[in-house]
Assembly symmetry: C2
Homo-oligomer: 200 residues x 2
């Protein structure tokens, strides 16, 4: 069936994001994708293979988009680097493809599961190494370990921002919203830049 594999991956992505890995059965995926269980298992031999495909599809696209953004920068400076890193992700989420939000929740949860985080580790390795090298170029006096700490903290901040923990809504009497990502990116970049400079 044309597009069958993509439709299965789309359906699985939504289900995994809503119910977690253990809450989803192959039968549920087949039903949501309107394919028979035979077609599903023809494309994906196991639920693990399906989840791997769901995560890798967007991880490859995201890490490419972020690498492109930081490599094609025409300004120097820490703020410009952080902006390129965060905004290339934001643009994908804002592209109107709801799947990017599901994916973001999925990897936020994944990153905390040792059994799955290796998949992300591999997929984002090149991006991480390039960011760490560039952080050291942009911030004079930032040693290698400090740059690794800086990058780890940046990842925590970006995950927290995009996965929307709700803290902004709760304590601002409605003035701020964790859903208005673009409004919050400016503040995140200022915070991250200040934090990274403090690690020199």
């Amino acid at each position: 069936m044309a597009g069958g594999k993509d439709r299965i991956t789309d359906a699985a992505e939504k289900l995994f994001a809503a119910s977690g890995f253990h809450g989803v059965s192959m039968r549920m995926v087949a039903e949501a994708a309107s394919v028979g269980l035979g077609t599903l298992t023809h494309h994906f031999a196991s639920k693990e293979a399906l989840l791997e495909s769901v995560v890798l599809r967007r991880s490859a696209a995201l890490s490419c988009a972020q690498l492109n953004a930081i490599r094609s920068l025409d300004e120097t400076g820490l703020d410009a680097l952080l902006k390129a890193f965060v905004e290339s992700y934001l643009q994908l989420i804002e592209s109107g493809d709801e799947g990017w939000r599901s994916y973001t929740r999925l990897i936020a949860v994944f990153a905390m599961d040792p059994a799955w985080s290796q998949l992300l580790t591999r997929e984002f390795d090149g991006l991480g190494r390039e960011m760490i090298a560039r952080l050291q170029i942009e911030v004079v006096g930032l040693n290698q370990d400090a740059a690794v700490h800086a990058y780890s903290n940046l990842v925590s901040l970006v995950m927290g921002l995009f996965a929307s923990n709700g803290v902004l809504d709760q304590f601002s009497d409605g003035r701020l919203s964790s859903q208005r990502l673009r409004d919050n990116v400016t503040s995140l970049i200022a915070f991250a830049a200040g934090g990274i400079r403090a690690l020199r």
Copy 2:
């Protein structure tokens, strides 16, 4: 049965942390706690009630410990405030009670699920308000919205640190480890302080 309720909550905590809400059945909890299904449903009418009890038990203890730590500070200054906030949590995790690690993974995942994050919102409301007020006292010129951003970012950093995303291990050739929490707290506090000051 004496201690039955606590034993059930302990067993459920481990199972939820390992397999997520949907991956755990009441029968699995009963087996792991060595109680009958009747005893389990006598204490907890539903899986939702059980998860609520698991999360609230430690959330109440954690938010109390953090509030006590920031209220009993005998020094002023942003770094001392952040240290009290982070180290009171670290002390619980280091207490040797493995449950605190399960709980941490659990709330890191929870915070991203709108259906459950309200539970955390309620439990940590007092702590959040007090931290936001104190951040404004310690950092002259930090307005209310900037203080809310600061606190939201601090929460993302602490969750990232304690849930151990593995970035430190991956990029430091073994020199850093996301498991060595105490080593990483010093760097996190410096980063957070620099980030918060940059929001003035």
